[in-house]
Amino acid sequence: MIQAIAFYFFAAIVVASAVMVIWSRNPVHSVLWLILAFFNAAGLMVLLGAEFIAMLLVIVYVGAVAVLFLFVVMMLDIDFAEMRAGFSRNAPLGLAIAAVLLAELLLAVGAYNAGGLQLGTPQDRLAQAADTSNIAALGALLYGKYIVLFEIAGIILLVAMIGAIVLTFQPPKPGARARQDVGKQISRRPEDATVMKSPEVGQGIEL
């Protein structure tokens, strides 16, 4: 009963906010609706018993990816009139994508009605059956059976990170100001920077 209420609650909000992402005119509002959709999808994951995935969804997508979206959209000065002018030009492409998505949806409904698929391997079920937590089961799989794939994924991410740094790194120009030396800044004391003087009356300033 309560699971059903919770499911329909989360699912309704996911669908409604997904609709609002494309409906709302202000792009910042769109991103905020998208965040709401992510968050409620995490709620659905919790209902499925996949609490680890749910937490990762919130940490990675809500906590990091969506913040960057929000930054970019807030910083951009978006001209709505210009955006609407491009509507008729991009309409055929949009319609094509919509048609593909509709076909996929129909296919999914058809496949669902055709009966259950045998997707899960025996291993997944055993991991659930053995009374382990999500994290332990995932860890055993990731660092046991799929260790090579996991390492490859890690190296791909590392290469991507180094690539991004190399692309945006600008070496200091030869004529630029001296680089900041933090040690030197911190070790600077008042005695090095200021001098006490007590000039006589009428002295010290040249008029």
Binding site: N134, A137, I147
Partner: protein
């Protein structure tokens, strides 16, 4: 509590729901009450350090000052700037406040005294604290004013930077405890140091991590010396500039609830939570919640102490500390900790049940039994 509501004739599902709602209400009320008292303590400590009296007019010793302030802002008019984006402007303080309260769901106040004792407790706290950025960013953007916007940019960059090193510190603790469950982490600290000290912080690998965590929690909650988001001399009052009345009070309460949360995390992860400092039987006669509150408020005292003592950082210094000092250091310590624990055979002792589970999974996989068994 579920059993009590079941005895009133409710089915298990509904009894559980009612009991959970009651628990949420109790925890929120207690957190709000301690926030009110902690604001008073903060001002009193600050006053004492500055050789002033601090609040001393409302109630005995000024104890009711926070409640008087609350009543005052409650009666004030809510002003919404005409250029503001109304919906988001009003939503932002609500999000800050809700997120600050939501994290308390997994905090164990004593053995078994916790609203939801979930396996992923620490990840839940990380997830919730990463949501805290939104209240700030939304308020800064929706105010449609330049100082709040600058402040929101600063705050989000600061929170994201320090969350990275906090994440690595948590990994070190989780490696030692072998669980993400906060109660499990506290229980793992019993008799940890030399067989009688109930704290992780005495370990030479974990003490530097605690220092990093404590400083990062100052930065995460935007307390002095990292309060650049509301640097009065530069940004008026930061992202709260355009707020008034209750919407301002919600920011304020949320901020202090977050500070208390960080203090209690320091307690739970490094200082033994509800366990007495030393593993000695008579000390266990004191209820666990007393130890927990004592340690938490000790950390809060340190927060106010630092507020009164240290001057504000420059923004480039803040970023340098987060990315160039804490991040490499915590990464190094994650590697060092896991290496040390592997070398001393810690995982064979802690994760013994998990290890047997792994072997059952591996054996039942006929496809490649040998290759994987070598791993486990």
């Amino acid at each position: 509590m579920t059993a009590f509501f079941q005895s009133l004739g409710l089915s298990y599902d509904w009894a559980w729901t009612v009991a959970t709602l009651a628990g949420i209400l109790i925890i929120s009320l207690l957190v709000m009450f301690s926030v009110a008292m902690v604001i008073y303590v903060d001002r009193k400590v600050l006053g004492a350090i500055m050789l002033r009296r601090g609040p001393n007019v409302v109630g005995p010793f000024g104890l009711l000052q926070s409640f008087a302030d609350g009543l005052k802002v409650f009666l004030q008019e809510t002003i919404i700037p005409s250029a503001a984006n109304k919906g988001i402007f009003l939503l932002a303080p609500i999000i800050t406040f809700t997120v600050a309260l939501a994290a308390w769901a997994v905090i164990p106040f004593s053995a078994g005294v916790v609203l939801s004792d979930i396996n992923v407790g620490l990840l839940y706290i990380l997830a919730i604290s990463s949501m805290g950025v939104y209240g700030v960013v939304m308020s800064g953007w929706a105010s449609n004013s330049k100082y709040p916007f600058f402040s929101a940019m600063r705050a989000s960059a600061q929170m994201i930077s320090y969350e990275v090193s906090i994440g690595f510190v948590l990994v070190c603790v989780v490696l030692f405890a072998g669980t993400f469950n906060l109660s499990g982490i506290v229980n793992a600290q019993q008799g940890f140091g030399l067989g009688f000290i109930n704290a992780y912080v005495v370990h030479p690998l974990l003490f530097p991590m605690w220092v990093v965590f404590f400083i990062s929690s100052l930065a995460e909650t935007a307390r002095a010396p990292f309060d650049l988001t509301e640097a009065e001399s530069e940004l008026v009052a930061g992202y709260q500039t355009e707020y008034s009345s209750m919407s301002f009070a919600l920011f304020w309460l949320g901020e202090y609830a977050n500070i208390l949360l960080m203090c209690s995390l320091n307690t739970l992860l490094f200082w033994g939570g509800w366990l007495p400092p030393v593993d000695w039987a008579p000390l266990y006669l004191v209820p666990g919640i007393i130890w927990f509150l004592l340690k938490t408020f000790m950390f809060f005292f340190m927060f106010s102490w630092i507020w009164a003592t240290v001057p504000r950082y420059r923004y480039d210094q803040l970023m340098r500390l987060g990315w160039k000092v804490f991040l490499p250091m915590s990464l190094l310590f994650v590697a060092a900790t896991s290496g040390y624990l592997m070398a001393t055979g810690h995982f064979d002792r802690v994760a013994a049940p998990a290890a047997t589970d792994t072997s059952t999974i591996v054996h039942s996989n006929p496809a490649q039994p040998k290759a994987v068994r070598g791993q486990s």
